[in-house]
Symmetry: C2
Subunit: 118 residues, 2 copies
């Protein structure tokens, strides 16, 4: 007989934010504040963070959280930001992170998918 | 008439590495070398990196690459590592990164999924 299946270790959400505010996507400090605020609003714990401004434009950023991670890559020329959120805590709600980022980036449309990990 | 669809900006792979070498998953420097080597073997360009050792065990790490990012979270107690690779370059082959990590982490089984972004 097989052992009972283990519950997933975590959940991974991929968020595509379309029709965003272009000026915000181009500004590393705005993008950085958006991610850190989203983690805090959802009750996450920031362990480390790193944001990189690309030339001629675009920002890549990562927040390592005690619950796993949140990353962003922005394409201001497409008004687009790709975000992924991986958590191994049942208490950090992905919907709260999404809602916070929609407001902060001025997103007009979001595509999302959610995946079990582990 | 609708405008023609834009091609995806990037591809995002989620890799679940099971039945890994437990000692390797517990060692930050081994995990760090595994990710950096995997990026280099696939021809990626490292922009920044950050690896964090959790207590009592487990490593979280992120490599920001010019082509986007590679992250890892390890659970030595489950012989498991969750990896995600996001690239906006057609030349960086996800299969090469996966193969390199399988060797470096001693993974016995891999589950993968691949998603268009943007």
């Amino acid at each position: 007989m097989d052992a009972p299946a283990m519950p997933p270790l975590g959940f991974h959400s991929l968020f595509d934010f379309h029709a965003c505010d272009v000026a915000r996507l181009a500004d590393r400090e705005v993008v950085r504040a958006a991610l850190l605020d989203a983690v805090r609003e959802a009750g996450g714990t920031v362990v480390a963070e790193m944001f990189h401004q690309f030339e001629p434009h675009g920002v890549s950023g990562v927040v390592v959280i005690a619950e796993s991670h949140l990353t962003v890559h922005t394409w201001p020329e497409r008004a687009f930001a790709a975000v992924d959120l991986f958590t191994c805590s049942p208490t950090l709600e992905h919907g709260r992170v999404e809602a916070s980022l929609v407001r902060a980036l001025g997103a007009g449309r979001v595509e999302r998918s959610r995946h079990e990990r582990g």
